[in-house]
Amino acid sequence: MYSQDMIESINRLEATRSKRIKQELTLLTSEEKYDLLNKFHPDYKKGTLRELKIGPNKGEKVINEIANLFEAYSLIDPDKVDLSNIDHDVDVLIIGGGGAGASAALIAQENGANVLVATKLRFGDSNTMMAQGGIQAADKPNDSPPRHYLDVIGGGGFDNTPELVNALVRDAPEAIIWLENLGVMFDKESDGTMITIHGGGTSRKRMHSARDYTGGEILKTLRDEVKNRDIDVIEFSPAIELLTSEGKCTGAILYNLETDEYIIVRAKTTILATGGAGRLHVQDFPTSNHYGATADGLVIAYRAGNPVIFMDNIQYHPTGAAYPEQIVGLLVTEKCRGLGAQLVNNDGNRFIYELETRDVESAAIIKECIERNKGIETPTGMVGVWLDTPMIDIIHGEGTIQKKLPAMYRQYQRFDIDMSKEPLLVYPTQHFQNGGITVNEKAETKIKNLYGAGEVEGGVHGRNRLMGNSLLECIVFGRRAGKNAAIKAKKIGYGELTLQHIKRYHMELRKVNIDKANISPMLLPDYRRRVSLARMIDV
């Protein structure tokens, strides 16, 4: 159901449709591309990166929103926390309850560890749960792990960390078998052959799926198994700092969001599986990410002395939903454009060839809305351009959308929008944290006894992740972290619990005159209105 203004804009779009179907636009030249990206792509915009003043990446540029969190004081006063009353003693502490955390928990327990999972929201609330498309693995006869390697590293701009890519592609088939044995209902032929399709940037069809709930079905299965095995999980209790002793991680401080108490966990080894950063809303972009994606893991690991890599960019998806308000930021699949849907502005005109790369498409849409003011405004103040989806049925025959894009069709049908008859409003959305904390192929960080798995770690995707490799990363590095952390925990005892690293970090912050009001991690975004916040009384 569109507003009156939007319906008038749709009328203009429909009036030009027959002409547009025949209109041929060409690919931009590399100079035009560079110019467009340089002027309008969020990553290229001046003033969006800044040099870090302190910490292991001091002097290097990262995106502002990340720098804001790094150049900030702890939520706790390290002199006032009583570390002598330990609430939990465990072999392996896993921070995060998404795909990577759940995988790590199962494997760590299988390797004899006493495991505790701490998660900010409910167990399972994560980007894994929202991943629809699929999971890559080179397991078909015409495919191979080296081919997968080449696709990953080419997609990432050739900067990816080679040993991480090697681990990713080498473990992929084993990861699929593990999931299949746990009972994940993959899409298969009746003889058991996996149904696999292409994703952006794949040279072979290696995208495995579970209908269009792939991440959800994987995570529901993993969560069910964690519960079967009676592994301890503390929900609504994010980690707010790591505990360290002489450069080693010895546990973490959790924060019970409901009682406002801190919880002390002593752990022989700790795994960070805290996910991504979509809810930072970099440059005010909407996001496809879940409510808790606020980069907490990056912050606490950085304070403890672990560097980050590739945090100078973010993955935007060009066609996030801009309307209806209920699904703003969620993805509208690239396949729509592949099937012929055109991008159209408020005047009913095209402004870019639809099959340019994701970064170019995003820049073009932003230019149209922000500089040329040719976007369409929604009743809630979002702006976007039309994706003329009815063209798909016009070009390929009636019923194509329902057959080829059933989930998308259902999603919009829910809001009384028939995408085979009406266009969709789209705008780029903040989608994925390509970079993250540095780890090696054993999922070890630079801090002894601290591991990282999933979106929180960086290097494997370079500066651009391909579809289907993030679910894979969660499973592969979750399993590696779980195994290595459990084995390590058997060999070592508990360490001393201190917040020395926070005291040192605070001293550095004071030296460079960081305002005391800046605190992190963020834990949760705040979507209350300013008027509400202005009237708030702290009692």
Binding site: P146, L150, V169, M194, H198, S203, K220, Y527
Partner: protein, 232 residues
């Protein structure tokens, strides 16, 4: 955009707030000054974290939906369900058989289903919940797995069930039984995993890891792409 900027009254746990028409329940709560801890997960209809029940003034009918996917309406009296205590059986998937007997042993309350269809009516995913419960009762594991596939485990069915069944936990058990014991195994994946262990790709991968950027770039640009015959 005029008609949708209209302010309407809603009642959050009984308290009246004026919110702009067109917002979701979730955004209306935030507009009213609430900050979520519970009752909010993916904000996109995938996680089942925001089950909400509501009723309109002078209407007997109790309604429900996901707070992130349901638009507020005038005089809605609403409350979110922060948590639902659900019975979950423990099992070793390797040991149990994909039969109705297994389901009844783990969840004997399944037999109490009276086919009242409340579960189906309450499901925000429009799943035929009662149909998959009936399939489960008949021991049709594949059917229950197939029908329940889009379940996001929001808990509304279990909250309303007069037989006190936790439908979604039986559903995930059926899907796992199907995936583990009934679906044919993917032999090609096992073959590839053995080849990797045997070292078939070791040389090629270590050469790739050692190659410099320019060589890799050349190989990448020269690689052939499998045609996608399904498009066209």
């Amino acid at each position: 955009m005029s008609e949708e900027k209209k302010m309407i009254p809603i009642y959050i746990t009984g308290k009246k707030y004026l919110v702009p028409n067109g917002l979701t329940i979730m955004k209306a709560m935030e507009y009213s000054g609430y900050r979520y801890i519970r009752g909010c997960g993916c904000r996109g209809g995938f996680c089942g974290g925001c089950a909400t029940v509501y009723r309109f003034k002078n209407d007997y009918k109790l309604q429900s939906g996901l707070a992130c996917q349901t638009v507020v309406e005038e005089n809605m009296y609403l409350v979110q369900i922060p948590f639902f205590p659900a019975n979950k059986a423990s099992y070793d998937l390797k040991e149990i058989k994909p039969t109705g007997g297994t389901l009844l042993k783990l969840y004997p309350e399944l037999a109490r289903c009276v086919s009242c269809n409340t579960c189906t009516k309450v499901c925000p995913q429009d799943i035929e919940v009662m149909d998959y419960m009936q399939a489960a009762l008949k021991g049709d594991i594949s059917g229950a797995a197939d029908i329940s596939f889009d379940c996001i485990m929001c808990g509304l069915c279990a909250a309303r069930c007069p037989a006190e069944i936790v439908q979604y936990n039986i559903a995930i058990l059926c899907r796992r039984l199907y995936g583990k014991h009934l679906a044919q195994k993917a032999e090609h994946v096992r073959k590839r995993a053995s080849e990797i262990i045997e070292g078939k790709f070791d040389k090629e991968l270590s050469d790739l890891m050692k190659s410099d950027k320019d060589d890799i770039r050349k190989m990448y640009n020269k690689r052939d792409i499998e045609p996608d015959e399904t498009e066209g």
